[in-house]
Symmetry: C2
Subunit: 352 residues, 2 copies
């Protein structure tokens, strides 16, 4: 074991603060990574504040962070895919059993024995996994991704969660050229959804409650912007959408979006309103529509997404912060005051 600098929270109401954590020395299958940037995902905030206690109680201290970009510093003896100096990424997963039918289908996100990058049992240490708000991390090579060298690294970090979380359902539901695709909500997830849906060739419509986001939505790749509070504007799009990506994690009227789907259209939720959504049966029955959810993606698909984003020059719009501003960033994130993702410059850890 070795000591690594990190930021952790000691409890649901404690601020994140500098600490030192134990990391394992790389085993023969491990890749050791110097973390350069780590995106701040809304899940980090939910986990730190134990807001998902019902589904996934937080074990303290917690070191969040699952949008990791860094350089390989060391590799185990059997590691073939990576060498020191390689630019790599780590997302939400750091382990899985590798033998179940989900793993065999390259869908490790559904493996019953998957290990999340933080707040999961750590099979090596016997403790808990610690995430990317740290100077380094050690990860099984199966869960390390190759990051295209042409990226702005601060802006690439959010691809590891926000990117794959939006790319995966867009691909799963067959979004291609000629499809009409909606994106509900223009935040960390939504702005990635717009960029990726546009690059996939779809006609992209952004739904927002804030008319002042129109210009930005168009700049990000939307072809149309609909203010969702305007019933007349909504009605114009009735029964026309092939797919809608719903990134909103607050309560909202899902039926008004279901009614916009064409026959066999689908809405996939990637945000999770805690109280649940009221769904009218007739909104589904009328057009044989469906409402789904989707969590992150498997490793093969995450690599595919990174390569796709590399080819199309897609990264997140980020505000780069030093780690010392993390608590302020969380407060701003709570108030949706960021365009569109924070990315922590991990070099700042060394300057304290």
């Amino acid at each position: 074991m070795y000591q690594a600098q990190a930021y952790s929270a000691a409890g649901a109401t404690a601020p994140l603060a500098a600490t030192s954590i134990s990391r394992r020395e790389p085993t023969e299958r491990d890749v050791q990574i110097e973390i350069l940037f780590c995106g701040i995902c809304h899940s980090d905030l939910h986990a730190v504040r134990d807001e998902w206690n019902e589904f996934m109680p937080t074990i303290y201290p917690i070191v969040p962070g699952h949008e990791i970009v860094g350089r390989v510093t060391n590799v185990g003896s059997t590691v073939k895919k990576f060498k020191p100096g390689d630019l790599v990424g780590v997302g939400c997963l750091v382990d899985s059993d590798g033998t179940c039918h989900e793993c065999e289908a390259d869908l490790e996100q559904f493996c019953p024995n998957r290990i999340l990058t933080y707040n999961s049992p750590d099979r090596h240490s016997g403790s808990v996994t610690y995430g990317g708000y740290s100077e380094s991390v050690v990860v099984d090579e199966r869960f390390v991704l190759r990051v295209p060298e042409n990226f702005d690294l601060a802006a690439a970090a959010p691809l590891l969660c926000a990117g794959i979380t939006t790319y995966s359902p867009l691909r799963h539901w067959g979004v291609t050229k000629g499809k009409k695709v909606g994106v509900v909500g223009l935040g960390g997830l939504g702005h990635m959804g717009v960029k990726i849906a546009n690059a996939l060739g779809a006609h992209v419509v952004v739904f927002t409650t804030s008319p002042n986001k129109t210009e930005d939505a168009l700049r990000l790749g939307a072809h149309e912007v609909v203010v969702s509070r305007n019933a007349d504007e909504m009605a114009k799009h009735a029964e026309t959408f092939d797919f809608i990506l719903d990134t909103v994690s607050a309560q909202h009227d899902i039926n008004s979006y279901l009614d916009l789907l064409a026959r066999d259209g689908n809405i996939t939720l990637v945000g999770a309103p805690p109280e649940g959504l009221n769904v009218k049966a007739f909104s589904l029955i009328g057009g044989r529509r469906s409402l789904s959810g989707s969590p992150i993606g498997g490793l093969r698909e995450t690599q595919e997404m990174l390569d796709f984003c590399g080819e199309h020059d897609i990264t997140a719009d980020v505000e780069v912060i030093p780690i010392q501003k993390i608590n302020e960033a969380y407060d701003r994130l709570s108030n949706s005051d960021v365009k569109y993702r924070f990315s922590i410059d991990m070099a700042s850890l060394k300057s304290q």
Copy 2:
């Protein structure tokens, strides 16, 4: 025009009563049918009582009935598929534009200009369509179905709505041998779902709130019965179902069923609880699950269902009544007091 005996309701609180209605003489494309049996669908009751006013206000007087089996008595000059004496059926649809992409895809149930068998604008008369609680009906040959001769006709009538409403989603979501399929609710729709899913080769599990339905569920073709109020029994089936057909039209906890779906599993609603269902996002996101709805089926698929049921000797379990007992039957249907569908012997119309 000619006069036909029928039963109609004059208002939302009026009983159904004997009347005489005008039917058109067959045009060159029409088939005239002597109605032998007409099933009583829960939709008939909703329509008569104007309980779906929000979606489809009832125009009075209403002659319900869209589970029609009868014999051809006359055909128009260009009709090729049918001749007098043929055994035929009519379901929920009697017309559509025939030119839209839904019609071209044999999905007339989604045609924006579809005409329902009752309570829809009648293009011929300029009035309203009248359904199967009548001695005869005149229907465009495109909307007339061939009924296998081996059927018990009283028991075959409900196939025209309850049969296709359950067959269509079972087929659409790929139910075949080896799939694990749930059926929620054992009423008119549910008991057809069980028979059809069994005949498709699936492992069929019935969910019911009434333990006393167990024996009947097994007789109908279920391989297992789960009492849905028993949380332990439910938990045993977590994450194992490929597909669940939900036939319940009262409020119920849909999340407890979503949690039983395997990855990419689907629940399709064919019942319509009026207040909507509370759906937790995590129930969908966890296994990339989906919740859908499905309305009846197109003509091609309805014929396929009739042929399938003919081959597998599947009809509804019915209680045959004379038309004079219709109001009593509605009251019993309201109380779920029928196993499992009423079928009206239309010969009774002549005995009054």
